[in-house]
């Protein structure tokens, strides 16, 4: 039986303007289940709310206007809703124990050593919960990502290339050994080869640990179709973006299947996604 890491019910996400307190709804999802132990990718045009969805599920921002999300983990379930933000300690605890992040920018501390930057996620978790990380993991992930630990660590972080720093930020998220890894365009600063490598390492890690899940935002349609187990396509509806059951695709051997039982090949899915993604302005879909 497939377990879901996130179960979204009637979710409506909106930003409130700080000055005039006006609400701007950017995303609506009636029902969506993100499977546990899988690499899920969110695709959609710019401004479609991909990052908003990641932020909401990763408890980075309180954009929930309506609805809720059930977050299921190894030992229980947490209901994520607007009221949850009243309990800051609980938010921090969940982020600390369960979530890791990889952003398009590396957000490495330039004056920390590369090793410290890679370890910081693990140290943050260890700080409050006596989480023990295996130092061998660090070297192993470096090797898998095509980095020489000793060579990297002999340099200052500021001296590293953009690609190297991005890979370090990926390793920082991986060594934390969290249940869910969120990525907002984690391969945005990487070349094709390293992007593929990153997704491969991520998939291997997920497979070796049945309870780990990854939810990434990407603009790389081909790579996403090639590597993802699950694709969520944000498509325009009226003046906002929505996820319909027809726009959620789960990988079956050699093909993709959506909620309506429609079966698509990689190429079909790619061209379908391109059709949505290329209409980048939500206004063009206004009814």
């Amino acid at each position: 039986m497939i377990r879901n890491v996130f179960e979204i019910h009637g979710l409506e996400c909106a930003y409130v303007h700080r000055m005039n307190r006006e609400k701007n709804t950017v995303l609506r999802i009636d029902n969506l289940s993100v499977p546990m132990g899988k690499l899920s990718v969110i695709l959609g045009p710019s401004g479609s709310g991909k990052s908003t969805l990641i932020e909401t599920l990763g408890l980075m921002n309180n954009t929930i206007n309506k609805g809720h999300v059930n977050y299921n983990h190894e030992t229980g379930c947490v209901k994520i809703n607007r009221e949850m933000w009243l309990n800051g300690k609980e938010l921090t605890r969940i982020r600390n124990e369960h979530f890791s992040f990889i952003f398009q920018s590396d957000f490495l501390m330039p004056y920390y050593s590369p090793e410290e930057n890679m370890m910081i996620g693990s140290l943050i978790r260890k700080c409050d919960h006596r989480h023990e990380s295996d130092p061998a993991d660090l070297k192993s992930f470096c090797r898998q990502m095509g980095l020489n630990f000793a060579e990297i660590n002999s340099k200052n972080t500021a001296e590293l290339s953009v690609g190297q720093k991005q890979r370090l930020s990926f390793i920082r998220a991986m060594v934390k050994k969290s249940s869910v890894i969120f990525g907002d365009e984690p391969t945005g600063n990487l070349d094709e080869l390293n992007s593929e490598l990153l997704l491969d390492v991520l998939k291997r890690s997920i497979r070796s640990n049945g309870h780990q899940s990854a939810l990434l935002v990407s603009h790389n349609i081909l790579l996403s179709v090639a590597k993802a187990d699950f694709i969520i396509l944000l498509s325009p509806c009226g003046d906002m973006y929505e996820v319909h059951r027809d726009n959620v695709f789960a990988r079956s051997p050699g093909r993709w299947e959506n909620g309506s039982g429609m079966i698509l090949s990689d190429d079909d899915l790619t061209s379908r996604i391109r059709m949505v993604v290329n209409y980048s302005s939500p206004a063009r879909f206004s009814v």
Binding site: R18, S51, E55, G58, M60, N61, N62, G88, K89, T92, R93, I94, R95, N96, E97, F99, S100, F101, F103, S105, F107, L108, M109, Y111, Y112, E115, E116, M119, I120, G121, L123, I124, R125, K126, C127, D128, P135, L138, K176
Partner: protein
Amino acid sequence: MKEKMSFRSVFVRNEFKALKGRNNSTVIYLSIILFISFLAFGFTKSTFTYQQKLSADPFSNWINLNYHSGTRDSLRSLNTRITDSLFRERYHIRGSYFYNKGMVTVRSSFAGESTMQYEARTIDPGSSVMKNLLTSNTVIKQFPDSIENAFVYEPNGVIISEKLFRDICPDGHSLSFIPIKSSTGDFVPVPLLAVAKELPDLADVVYTSLFYCKSMNTGFYDLDNSYYRIFVEDMDTAGILGVIREICSALEIQDPSTIQTSLLQACNKPVMTWKVEIGAQDNELPVSVKNERIATLASLKNHRFGRYFDISKDKTCDNSAFFHDYLAIEFRDLEKIRDFSIFLKEELNLQLNLEVLSERENYLFTGNIAVGSILLLMAISIISVSIYISGTLRNHLLRVRKNLGNFLAFGVKNNTLISLYILVTVRILVSALVPALIIAYGCGKLFEKYLLGKLLVIDSDQDYFSLFNSWIAVFVALIMFVAVFRTFISVKKILANTPGDLVYERDF
């Protein structure tokens, strides 16, 4: 992989490294600000201490009002009003007492004949000025064991100034009496209770009203004609007895009665006192003959003999025949002295000496200026340090806000980040404070020793630079508190944003 790596140690070490600036610039700038502050503070504080010393000086904090027939009734009325605690509180008065002034003649050496005159005044043994005199650091030598009760122990004793002590004993350290000349020209060894740097009214001798009364009534020594008392600056008892017998023999006195009465200390030398009965066998020997014989005794140059009379041990004296000279009013501080002078003028028609008034007000004014300078310096330093630290920290936090958002997203508590930044601020402040304090102390002391100490010799015991005191502790604590508070506010303000807002830089 380093052992014992923790988020706290990594964070504090790296943030300290980042905040202390390139080439420790932040620490150096802070050190310079603090160095200048400490240096100025040290000099101002010593000025204040000196001023405070002057203001708290029992000899500066009082006024004297002349007691004569024209002011007698007003001063008695004033003295009565001063017993009222509300009145004392209104004008910050500590107490009042009448006193007298006089002159004393002191023999410069014990067996010699040369004399010197010194100013003397009475003092009330129970008065606050007496307590201040004995508890302040003005006493440099004390001869009874319990100086607090000096006059109770010996109401016929005196306290003398250091100047008088040095006149009598230029190189000596120990003196148990001084030879004071009585109104009839005889010398009396008066017990010495203490030596003070200075005495009220610039006097060189202070004594009790009892002593004054007895001296005015020519009754402060026992004049016993049948015995003559002599000082002998020699410790050879057998030799002295031989000399006395020899002299007495020369004076045709058989078997004189001699008694060693006491052993005194005079300028590190022991001095014996002897009673010699001259003419006991010849009761009718005229006084003039006795004096002639004792003069022969004193003229023997090989032996340091001198005649004296025992001090009277009476503890009562009839003082109805004379009046006081002054009413002394002692103040707790000088803040109300102007009001008090107005009160004297309006209520009692007494005129306070304007020179005295302005001198006292100058003490007050310069004292207030010194306190004001210290407070201003403290405020400027605290504000400077606070602005510098908060500016540096704010710039740093804005530069790394996205990274902080990332830390929050990974699950660091806001309070953890706030407490760690406070720790980093304290480390930076301590790194700047310690060298600033040491260098300021060194420079201040050098400046004091080689420049001020030579140019401005006010008082040999006066420090011109005083850094390590309770004010500096308050100052450092205030700087720490303000810096910690500003850090708390700056970090809390940044962390009031959600991790998402920090990472995606929304609405800054």
